[in-house]
């Protein structure tokens, strides 16, 4: 039972309440840094680290954080982890760090992270909070990666920097540019919603059939 509960928290972030596809949060990094798969993964990992770390701390301290100043406390905790992530990336992969640029410090302002602290971590026990954070971060990573992969394949004919086609490939310049981000995200959201619509329809049909049968 207990195991189920944390699994539930994990899977809801990955699929049903996916931060990008279902909640449409964190659009700024989503559109800005997904012009290649490697940037998307770096951004996803940094967000993962920050989200899980701050959810853990916020949840542990939830009984000591005064309600009136909770947002500032959350932000300080988040900013601590963002600073760690920023310098770690700078030390390990300076090239990616340069490409991501201002978007790493801007993780502080990612509404997904603050939203999870406010809505979940500050109200639930540490174990659930961490599972929720991992689920949300993995969901965010999947979304970033799918967008980055599509844009890199079409815009550059490559994936993670490896050329997939012959030299004659005609790059879709728009996919590397900001409009490509909007277009791809829109199309992916369209399919996500279409799928959900079809699934609800199917479930309704099943329920209807069951009611008639009984």
């Amino acid at each position: 039972m207990k195991k189920n509960e944390s699994y539930e928290e994990f899977i809801k972030g990955v699929w049903r309440d996916n931060p990008v596809f279902a909640q449409v949060l964190g659009m700024c990094p989503m559109l800005a840094v997904t012009n290649s798969a490697i940037n998307a993964v770096a951004m996803g990992m940094a967000t993962f680290f920050v989200l899980v770390g701050s959810s853990f701390l916020v949840s542990s301290f939830r009984n000591w954080i005064p309600k009136q100043v909770r947002i500032s406390c959350f932000i300080i905790i988040i900013a601590t982890f963002v600073t760690i992530a920023d310098y770690t990336l700078l030390a390990l992969v300076p090239k990616v760090h340069k490409e991501l640029g201002a978007f790493i410090p801007l993780i502080v302002a990612n509404c997904l992270i603050l939203g999870r602290q406010e809505a979940f971590a500050s109200r639930y026990p540490t174990r659930l909070a961490v599972m929720d954070a991992i689920g949300m971060a993995v969901g965010f990573l999947i979304a970033l990666l799918s967008l980055g992969a599509v844009r890199e394949i079409l815009g550059d004919g490559a994936l993670f920097g490896v050329k997939l086609f012959s030299v004659n490939f005609e790059p879709w310049v728009i996919m590397i540019l900001p409009p490509g981000g909007f277009l791809t995200l829109g199309v992916i959201l369209l399919f996500f919603n279409w799928f959900k619509f079809k699934k609800d329809e199917f479930l309704d049909d099943v329920a209807e059939a069951e009611r008639r049968g009984s």
């Binding site: 490939f169 005609e170 728009i174 996919m175």
Partner: protein, 339 residues
């Protein structure tokens, strides 16, 4: 409409109806475009047929794919998809790879029409949206112009057309500049007669000014076209370039050159007049036309691109709901304020 017994007509007012329906208007526009289409085949040979066909194919494929099962027949039968494809094709360079043309038609219908809710709900002209997508996606292929085929070259196909999907066109040895490009970058003026009869480099449908005007007159006679829009666009362009000519006749194009070069006639007569994306009030259509004309000239003369008709019309499309809102006529019998 089914034929009813004339002695017993049970219906609400209005009882007098025009025979104008969506399919009939679309058919008229297709007829009006026929001379220019034929001319494009004359000038660019088999390539014109292939590119136009690919565009229409892409447009119809998108229309078929995204239509409701019940409404599929209707949305295909009203020919608006075919018209979008044809208009898009007429704005493309003749040497464009066919897969790009197909993609343009598909995107034009999918993102320009279906996603807004189908015919009558779109904010932007689908054909121009498809072209804007292609221009942003494949900037090199979309600005590689090939000269018209020479004598007896009707069966000739430009090698660029046959590029495999997702592959580049082979670099064409023979490429040429459009009259507007020559004007902008090399200060070279193309003779007016060539512009009128179509002996120039350019996109498939923009080379022959006279045939486009002919189609426009046909549409005006059939009352399928709001004459205010093309007239106000063309007048604005003429006045704008005449005023510029007063300052420096050497540097700026003459009014006639401005009107007959580039895609202005095609855009002003067939695209800006799209009843869905242009204002409905008479005052609004004047504002729309003047705005388009001014934007065209601003982009052509002061902008970085040689041609600006597409962006001018798309920008004014975006302004159309606003124009409509502020030019509502006063309801008879009500007070002075229009709200």
């Amino acid at each position: 409409m089914k034929k009813r017994d004339p002695d017993l007509l049970l219906a609400h007012a209005p009882l007098l109806r025009q025979g104008m329906t969506t399919p009939s208007v679309m058919r008229d526009v297709l007829i009006a475009l026929a001379p220019a289409t034929a001319a494009s085949m004359w000038f660019f040979g088999l390539s014109a047929i292939l590119v136009l066909g690919a565009c229409i194919g892409g447009a119809v494929a998108a229309e078929w794919l995204f239509a409701d099962k019940q409404a599929r027949g209707d949305s295909l039968r009203d020919a608006s998809g075919i018209l979008t494809g044809l208009l898009l094709g007429l704005t493309l360079p003749p040497g464009l790879p066919l897969w790009m043309a197909f993609l343009g038609g598909f995107v034009g219908i999918a993102l320009g029409k279906v996603i807004w809710g189908g015919l009558g709900h779109n904010l932007f002209n689908p054909a121009l949206l498809g072209r804007a997508f292609l221009l942003a996606t494949f900037p090199i292929a979309m600005t590689t112009w090939v000269p018209a085929v020479g004598d007896g070259g009707f069966l000739q196909i430009y090698p660029g057309n046959l590029a495999l999907p997702f592959m580049q066109a082979q670099v064409d040895a023979m490429s040429a500049a459009t009259p507007l490009g020559l004007m902008k970058f090399e200060q070279e003026v193309t003779p007016l007669a060539n512009l009128m009869f179509g002996k120039t480099t350019g996109s498939l449908g923009e080379t022959s000014g006279l045939l486009l005007l002919l189609g426009g007159v046909y549409l005006w006679l059939r009352r399928d076209l709001d004459w205010r829009i093309p007239v106000s666009i063309l007048l604005t362009v003429v006045v704008f370039s005449a005023v510029l000519g007063l300052f420096d006749a050497e540097r700026f194009p003459t009014p006639l050159f401005s009107v007959f070069s580039g895609g202005l006639l095609l855009g002003a007569i067939y695209m800006a007049t799209d009843p869905v994306t242009s204002p409905v009030t008479p005052k609004g259509t004047w504002i729309f036309g003047i705005g388009t004309g001014v934007l065209v000239m601003l982009i052509r003369v002061f902008g970085g691109l040689p041609e600006g008709v597409m962006y001018a019309i798309l920008l004014m499309n975006a302004a159309t709901p606003l124009i409509d809102r502020y030019t509502q006529p006063r309801v008879f019998g009500r007070g002075g304020d229009t709200k």
